[in-house]
């Protein structure tokens, strides 16, 4: 009888062994430290990959264009594995996409981080300008009709609940002052003119050869056939007014920026390992 138990144990153990091997294959453990840090080939490859995939938003020097300055991430205490997961999983609620396998391999991500590390800078030492509490009032007076933070605000412009995680301070300032040429997808300004000359202004949510889908300035979402319109015109000026210094003082802008950069989302930071 004893051999039956022995056989059973052997079977259970080998099944467990197979399962464990399978787990090990499909969920490899992530190193806490970048295995390619300082590797010259990896840095070169990482530079190319960074320029193709990241520089559009974060800038060729990684000091931020639309998206945040990422030269100071280590100085601010982020670890290699946390940064790895940010690239792999993206930042929910922002334009930062997930770079999924197999299109982006683990090695690809480590190479990008190896390159970024060569650009790493110390944390800024200057005093932060502006008062966020005052800035919230500036926001309520000037911005909330079109922009939402949390539960409150309009929907014609982008939701700003996580804008502090998504945008560099300077990028937000440029946007407010009206010095930005391009538009975020889904917010391109458009004017439709009906056959009787009535104008419908709004932002473009979608379009094809035959139709255009918009949110108009009254926040009505609606699709229109091009053949029903006299003209459909893509505007050059943003639907958002420019807030020049005569409309918003430098001090008010500093307060507003202090408030907006404090908007980092519910948990402040991207939940590591989020997603599937």
């Amino acid at each position: 009888m004893k051999w039956i138990y022995t056989a059973l144990i052997v079977t259970v153990l080998s099944v467990a062994h197979v399962i464990a091997q399978d787990l090990f294959v499909t969920i490899p453990t992530l190193p806490t430290k970048n295995p390619l840090e300082g590797n010259a080939d990896a840095i070169t490859a990482g530079m190319g990959a960074y320029r193709v995939r990241c520089a559009d938003c974060h800038g060729m020097d990684a000091r931020g264009v639309r998206s945040p300055d990422i030269t100071q991430v280590w100085a601010k205490g982020r670890t290699d594995d946390a940064l790895f997961r940010t690239i792999r999983n993206g930042v929910p609620g922002t334009e930062m996409p997930a770079f999924a396998a197999p299109r982006t391999s683990d090695v690809d991500i480590w190479r990008i981080l190896a390159y970024l590390k060569t650009l790493a800078a110390p944390a800024p030492t200057g005093l932060a300008r502006g008062n966020a509490t005052t800035g919230q009032n500036v926001f309520a007076a000037n911005c909330i009709a079109c922009h939402r933070v949390g539960e409150h605000g309009g929907t014609l412009g982008p939701d700003l609940s996580r804008i502090g995680a998504a945008r560099a301070r300077e990028a937000i300032a440029r946007q407010i002052r009206g010095n930005v040429a391009d538009f975020r997808t889904g917010y391109e300004p458009v004017t439709l003119t009906t056959p009787n000359g009535q104008e419908i202004r709004g932002v473009k949510k979608n379009e094809d050869l035959f139709s255009v889908q918009i949110m108009d300035t009254g926040e009505r979402i609606q699709g229109y056939l091009r053949e029903d319109m006299r003209t459909v015109t893509n505007e050059k000026q943003s639907a958002m007014p420019a807030f020049a210094a005569d409309r918003l003082s430098d001090a008010d802008l500093d307060d507003l920026l202090a408030y907006l950069t404090s908007l980092q989302g519910a948990n402040g930071e991207n939940p590591a390992g989020g997603g599937r």
Partner: protein
């Protein structure tokens, strides 16, 4: 005497009665013959048995029931759903009122063309997630057929023969080890008794090839390596040992000329894709068209569109054959709209260049010289800093099939006007890993409009006859008909009918997903012309609302 008459009548009528009763019971149709494949698309519209309609890849149907005047009366007959997350890039086949369709993720179906109901379904188990290397989607481009068998390539680089009646596997051969970066998505071309296939993997350091297998047994008949080995002519066009991992995949179905007994296949990009120093030389036969003897696989001639390509411009577009009169001379030609921005007409008997003309904005070459080589312009070698070049990496066109109208002598192609910044750097080769030595990024900005257009090209001159513009680049293949229609699609999901004589818009339907990488097909069924459209995860069958169906049985 009377008895004799009765007996004679019985002898004469017997077989006829027997035949009639067998037909009523649904006797199996005769096996698919090589002659049927040679016939291509016939005026009765009863079948579609070859990837491009016929071996010449015209995708031009002789059917005329649907016209520019009545196309607005097309109504859907049924919709078939794959219930998978991945999309169709397949060309369905039709025979005896049954559709044979390959799908993504190694799936395949036989579908009742009358109702869209599944008859059988085949699924090959995929290797573990992450181990497949098909660079650009877990797709498949369609079946080949002969006898009572269908032939299908797989993502793990096998070739299968399936029983047409059941979907059961008749034989299964390994093309190459998928763990080394090989995959296969190509629709097999059946020529005489052989099944012709190729492998993908140009981004994974493979050594590409075209294979022929015996249709009955699956035994390999020949192999043509798209990169010559040591001692073979052309091996010296690869510096050092770079030929060993030079890519040059074959993932788009070629053409066949039965009179010359030649196969024509476009060959993929050299690897690593972007880094010049890693593979000095012309890198034959990457980015070339090759003409192979269909019986032996021996190379008859080649023409390289893009010597030493640095922009991932695979010549994996569909070659189209026609007989034209050029400068007063009858010419047997192969037409080729290339990813590199040029449209080519070549003599298909010897590969000599007849016409080469850009069909989109092309900045890397001034022209193609009389010797057949592009005259390069400076500043288009990618490096770490990046170089701006038109067209972009997806190219002026790509694997989505063009069509050719022999009556108008016009070549139709969905073209892209997009530029890109190309980067390159040295990369170590690791078996089974992506091996591109760089990357490319689509150029954006106010002065960098990216759009697409359906263009009609005169193959005797390369001149554009007309165009139909899309708001963004389309990746749809084309189907044209003798009644003067072109069926196309745009990136926004519209299925479109365009006037083949003028390029004017005629009709549209929003399918909810783009027609991508393949085209509609058309055929006759119960007296009505049907158009079958693979978009996203659906097949949709269309016919005219006001044409009554002819019942297959009479009282």
């Amino acid at each position: 005497m009377y008895r004799l008459v009765v007996r004679l009548m019985l002898v004469g009528l017997g077989p006829a009665i027997l035949a009639a009763s067998l037909l009523a019971q649904g006797a199996p149709p005769p096996l698919v013959t090589p002659q049927e494949l040679l016939d291509g698309l016939k005026p009765d519209g009863a079948h579609w048995l070859v990837f491009g309609g016929g071996y010449e890849n015209h995708r031009h149907s002789p059917l005329t029931q649907i016209t520019p005047e009545n196309v607005g009366r097309l109504v859907p007959q049924w919709v078939f759903q794959t219930d998978t997350p991945a999309r169709f890039e397949t060309t369905p086949l039709l025979r005896d009122n049954v559709l044979y369709v390959t799908g993504p993720l190694n799936l395949a179906w036989a579908i009742d063309a009358r109702t869209g109901r599944e008859i059988w379904r085949y699924r090959r188990e995929l290797p573990p997630t992450g181990s497949l290397t098909a660079c650009c989607g877990l797709v498949n481009k369609g079946f080949g057929v002969l006898g009572d068998r269908l032939f299908m390539t797989t993502l793990d680089a096998h070739l299968l023969a399936l029983d047409m009646k059941t979907g059961a596997v008749a034989w299964d051969v390994t093309l190459e080890d998928y763990r080394k970066g090989y995959a296969s998505t190509i629709a097999p071309l059946v020529v005489k008794d052989k099944v012709i296939v190729g492998v993908a993997g140009g981004e994974y350091g493979i050594r590409g090839f075209i294979d022929a297998y015996d249709a009955k047994t699956g035994k390999q008949a020949w192999r043509f390596y798209t990169i010559p080995g040591p001692g073979e002519p052309g091996n010296d066009t690869w510096a050092g040992d770079s030929w060993q991992r030079g890519g040059a995949g074959v993932w788009v179905t070629g053409a066949y000329d039965p009179a010359l007994n030649l196969l024509y296949y476009g060959i993929g990009n050299p690897g690593p894709d972007y880094h010049s120093e890693s593979r000095k030389g012309d890198n034959l036969y990457s980015d070339s068209i090759v003409a192979l003897d269909a019986d032996t696989g021996k190379l008859r001639w080649h023409y390289q569109f893009t010597p030493h390509d640095l922009h991932d411009w695979d010549a994996t577009e569909v070659p189209v054959l026609a007989d034209l009169t050029i400068a007063g001379q009858p010419r047997k030609v192969v037409m080729f709209a290339n990813r590199n921005g040029f449209y080519y007409t070549l003599d298909r008997t010897d590969g000599k260049l007849i016409v080469a003309k850009p069909f989109v904005i092309t900045t890397w070459a001034k022209e193609v010289g009389p010797d057949g080589r592009p005259v390069l312009l400076p500043g288009h070698v990618p490096d770490e800093k990046g170089a701006l070049t038109c067209p972009d990496v997806t190219g002026a066109t790509n694997f989505w099939p063009p069509s050719y109208d022999p009556a108008q002598r016009l070549f139709f192609v969905n073209a892209r006007e997009v530029c890109a910044t190309y980067y390159a750097w040295r990369q170590e080769y690791v078996p089974g890993e992506r091996f591109t030595g760089g990357a490319a990024q689509r150029a954006r900005g106010a002065d960098m409009r990216a759009y697409g257009a359906l263009r009609a090209i005169d193959p005797t001159t390369g001149e554009r006859r007309w165009e139909f513009e899309y708001i963004s680049p389309s990746t749809s293949g084309l189907l044209s008909t003798a009644s003067g229609l072109i069926f196309s699609g745009d990136a926004e999901g519209n299925f479109l009918a365009i006037d083949a004589r003028s390029g004017k818009f005629l009709w549209r339907f929003q399918m909810g997903s783009a027609l991508h990488g393949t085209s509609a097909i058309t055929y006759m069924l119960d007296g009505r012309q049907h158009v079958l459209v693979p978009t996203g995860t659906t097949l949709t069958s269309w016919a005219l609302s006001d044409v009554p169906r002819e019942k297959p049985f009479t009282n």
